[in-house]
Point group: C2
Amino acid sequence: MSSDLLPGIVTDTIASLSRLPGIGPRSAQRLTYFLLQAPEHLPRELGDLLMRLQTETELCRICCNICDTQPCSLCSSRDRDRSVICVVEEPQIVSVIDRMGQFNGLYHVLHGTLSPLDGRGPEDIRLKELWRRLDVGGEAEIREVIVATSPDLPGQATAQWIADELRHHPIKVSQLARGLAAGSDLEYADDVSFRFALEGRRVL
Amino acid sequence: MSSDLLPGIVTDTIASLSRLPGIGPRSAQRLTYFLLQAPEHLPRELGDLLMRLQTETELCRICCNICDTQPCSLCSSRDRDRSVICVVEEPQIVSVIDRMGQFNGLYHVLHGTLSPLDGRGPEDIRLKELWRRLDVGGEAEIREVIVATSPDLPGQATAQWIADELRHHPIKVSQLARGLAAGSDLEYADDVSFRFALEGRRVL
């Protein structure tokens, strides 16, 4: 009896919201009732945005970041250092790094990592597009590739693969340093970070 | 520089999702990137549902619950006991109570509570519609109104107001019992529940 109680569009909205990451059936129900009772423009605006989200965005044909112009604003910017490419796993990392204002080069978004255990090989991520950028060379020769993948196994495997592939290229391949986080207390450091910090120790 | 990085529709979607209850800027960003990279039908289906959510639902002209037929499936059902009305604060409570399968009467949704401190008076919630149901009387006379508002101050004020208004009516007004939750440990009972349990104690 209970399922007949609600209009189909209400149960469909709850089911659809439940499919989003981090939103369980309870939150989906709460969000749906919020939207049902919110000022009418709120669900309509959000609905309209979601309908257009994928059709009005694409991947930059150079860096594979999400964009709405070809090439994207970063790849076409004259203010960036065009000799360094920072390679990241996912598009959201570009925003994270750029917000810090420390890096002024270009990016390349892989859309994933290599993971032999999960059957993800080089052709499953945007490596072909990276090799193409490095071979063509464009107006300014690329000198360095900074691999900013995550410090986990698939991230490390991906960084190593890129370094191996470019071994006979005149391009420097680097990786972000690992160690103790700035301002952190040694007492609470995890053992992996500590091992990285010890291995990478410097003479003072 | 950072805000130029993302297409307008991406920042607009993040901003719109941030307006939902329980979703902060970080979750909104995570959800947006999930939807950007999900199979195309997912954001489109959800967007379409949200666009239609309010236009394809309305309030039942009898019980004020959210519905898509007039009157709603509950008010038009022949299997329900038409002599008892359970009065609730919000539409979602109807689903909660009906799922338990203990109550087979009709409902009335107030869409809020009385709260003099917040300036919410009787004309701000669906009380007029409740009085109309009780006066008309329909095919089966209503014998009892069960006020199932929350056990907090506004809920209690609302229940008391309804009881006072119906004092000279031949209609019984009742409230859900308060006390100790079934299976709960007395050691961890809160003092308000304990006071209710003590006041409502029964002779064995």
